[in-house]
């Protein structure tokens, strides 16, 4: 075997290993999650685990329904806050902002993406929570605080993805609309934005994924009571928070139940990713 062939073989092996690492990681996580979580689910009973409304590990009651609802509420709240803001910002950056304004705003958005979530959590704790406590009912640590904070945190994801979708709309659509006598606003909102709809949906779905998986910032502002909240001013515990808060001291079935919570979260993320891919594919077919 010549040395060049040997070199090539070596390079191939290196690349193959590098490529395998990420796949291997996913597989290992899957195996770990399911191997540890599924037996616990079986022991608790799947309906009791998923739909039981009481989480009291001391009494061997492991119902995660309040946490599932909590994650959904917090994510939905974050969407209500973050999606309109993010989309309008993306439309503004792509079609309305002058070059100078866009050049000033864009790094701000990018910086927002780089702030560690614990710093967001701290911001929520010292700004958002006291504000809610002083001006609204409840103790401040609440669903509302978590939704507001997460709404801000998903902005960079939503803005970046939506903006690139809007930027990618062919110029001929815009010109076609103008040539019919439509003004700039109408051309943008009635032709360009609808033309970018699959990319915009992808931005929203990625935002959902980001919000549902967020842990640290949520723990710091959400109150974390394992009870279905009665109003937006009540505390709420998400699935991620449930795992982090109790993993440190859990053992046996309690520990298994926390891993099983991770399994449920994993399934949620899996569904979101599949939805994202489906939307992307539909956009490409068009």
């Amino acid at each position: 075997m010549s040395s060049s062939a040997a070199k090539e073989g070596l390079a191939r092996a290196l690349f193959a290993i590098a490529a395998a690492v990420s796949v291997l990681a996913v597989v290992l996580i899957c195996v770990f999650l399911f191997a540890n979580g599924v037996p616990a689910m079986a022991q608790i009973g799947l309906p009791e685990f998923l739909f039981g409304s009481t989480w009291r590990p001391a009494n061997d009651l492991y119902g995660i329904f309040p946490m599932i609802v909590g994650s959904i509420y917090v994510t939905a709240g974050a969407m209500i806050v973050g999606v309109p803001t993010g989309l309008l910002c993306a439309i503004f950056l792509s079609r309305f902002a002058s070059r100078g304004v866009a050049a000033a705003l864009k790094p701000g958005v990018e910086l927002l993406a780089g702030i560690p979530s614990v710093v967001y959590g701290f911001f929520g704790l010292v700004v958002i929570v006291p504000f809610i406590r002083e001006n609204m009912p409840g103790r401040g640590l609440s669903l509302l605080a978590a939704a507001l904070l997460l709404g801000i945190m998903i902005l960079p994801t939503v803005i970046t993805v939506a903006q690139s979708a809007i930027d990618a709309v062919p110029r001929k659509y815009y010109e076609g609309a103008l040539a019919l006598g439509a003004d700039h606003e109408r051309s943008v909102f009635r032709v360009i934005v609808p033309a970018a709809i699959s990319g915009i949906m992808a931005a929203v779905v990625l935002g959902v994924g980001r919000a549902i998986g967020e842990t640290m910032a949520v723990i710091m502002v959400a109150g974390n009571q394992p009870v279905i909240p009665g109003s937006i001013f009540d505390g709420v515990r998400t699935m991620t928070a449930n795992i982090v808060l109790e993993m440190g001291y859990a053992a046996d079935l309690h520990r298994g139940a926390l891993v099983a919570t991770g399994v449920v979260l994993f399934v949620f993320i899996l569904l979101i990713t599949m939805l994202f891919n489906a939307i992307k594919r539909r956009g490409e077919v068009k």
């Binding site: 001929k172 076609g176 040539a179 019919l180 609808p194 033309a195 068009k286």
Partner: protein, 289 residues
């Protein structure tokens, strides 16, 4: 607004007289400057038009009259300024950064750059582009976009306009069962005729066609050429074309451009058979371009 949109250009006002050798046998300079004969009243006029892209002088002192209810073809080699002129007629050149226009363009005697609101100008002077550009929405919504833009909301009115526009563009029979289908699923030729229907739906007075058949197959091209012959009964048509046979087949008047100057304009037959300028003669004979 609604009334203005619905008002149709009345073809009966200008009777079809066919080509009038008397009116357009005049030499170039007179063709553009003298009062136009009654039976071919002018719809748009270009006076001493200079156009610059930054420092590039793209159109040089162009004078041209577009007679009402006639098809005018703008011909010339690539880069001669014919598309630039077309795009300045509905101010699409405004989108080009660094574009500067001097001189005047009038529509029915009103200055297109100073006296007419730009959106209203673009409604009255419709445009069909080189590449078919239907919006990624249904056939119906494509045609209804313009009327909706100009304030027509009533479903029955929109239905009527959509049907009439598609009929005028000779594509109603092909599309009447596919109104809810996405327009991007149509063939290129169908897309282009849909774009013509979309342009007609706002009841324009002038229709600009920017090499609108160059991306199409010969059969689609023939259909559109036939359509243009019909459209001139109601509209003033101005078309840019690279295809000299097309200009000969379709147009009543022809203007020949070279390097930003309008070399010669007149009756299509005259320009092609006995041009005044040697450069025109060379071009139409296929010696360059």
């Amino acid at each position: 607004m609604t009334n203005a949109v619905m008002e149709r250009t009345d073809a009966a006002v200008v009777p079809e007289t066919g080509k009038s050798p008397v009116a357009f046998a005049a030499p170039v300079s007179e063709f553009s400057h003298t009062a136009v004969p009654v039976e071919t009243a002018s719809k748009m006029e270009v006076r001493d038009l200079d156009l610059y892209y930054k420092s590039f002088h793209a159109l040089k002192g162009v004078n041209l009259t577009f007679p009402k209810n006639q098809v005018t073809a703008l011909i010339g080699p690539s880069g001669c300024g014919k598309s630039t002129l077309l795009k300045s007629l509905n101010r699409m050149n405004d989108l080009v950064e660094g574009c500067r226009v001097e001189g005047s363009i009038t529509l029915d005697g009103s200055d297109a750059y100073r006296e007419i609101d730009v959106n209203n100008l673009r409604r009255r002077v419709g445009m069909v582009f080189q590449q078919p550009n239907p919006f990624p929405m249904s056939v119906y919504d494509n045609v209804a976009f313009g009327p909706r833009t100009h304030g027509i909301r009533k479903k029955s009115d929109l239905d009527d306009i959509v049907e009439q526009s598609l009929r005028d563009a000779a594509i109603w029979d092909e599309l009447k069962d596919r109104l809810k289908k996405n327009a991007l699923g149509l063939s290129g030729g169908q897309q282009q005729r849909l774009c013509i229907a979309r342009a007609l739906a706002v009841r324009p007075e002038v229709l600009l066609m920017d090499e609108s058949t160059s991306a199409l197959d010969p059969i689609s091209t023939a259909k559109i050429e036939e359509l243009v012959g019909e459209l001139k009964k109601s509209y003033t048509v101005i078309m840019v074309t690279h295809n000299m046979l097309q200009a000969l087949r379709v147009s009543d008047k022809t203007a020949f451009f070279l390097l930003g100057e309008m070399v010669e304009a007149g009756d299509t037959d005259t320009v092609f058979t006995s041009p005044n300028d040697a450069r025109t003669a060379d071009y139409v004979a296929g010696r360059f371009g």
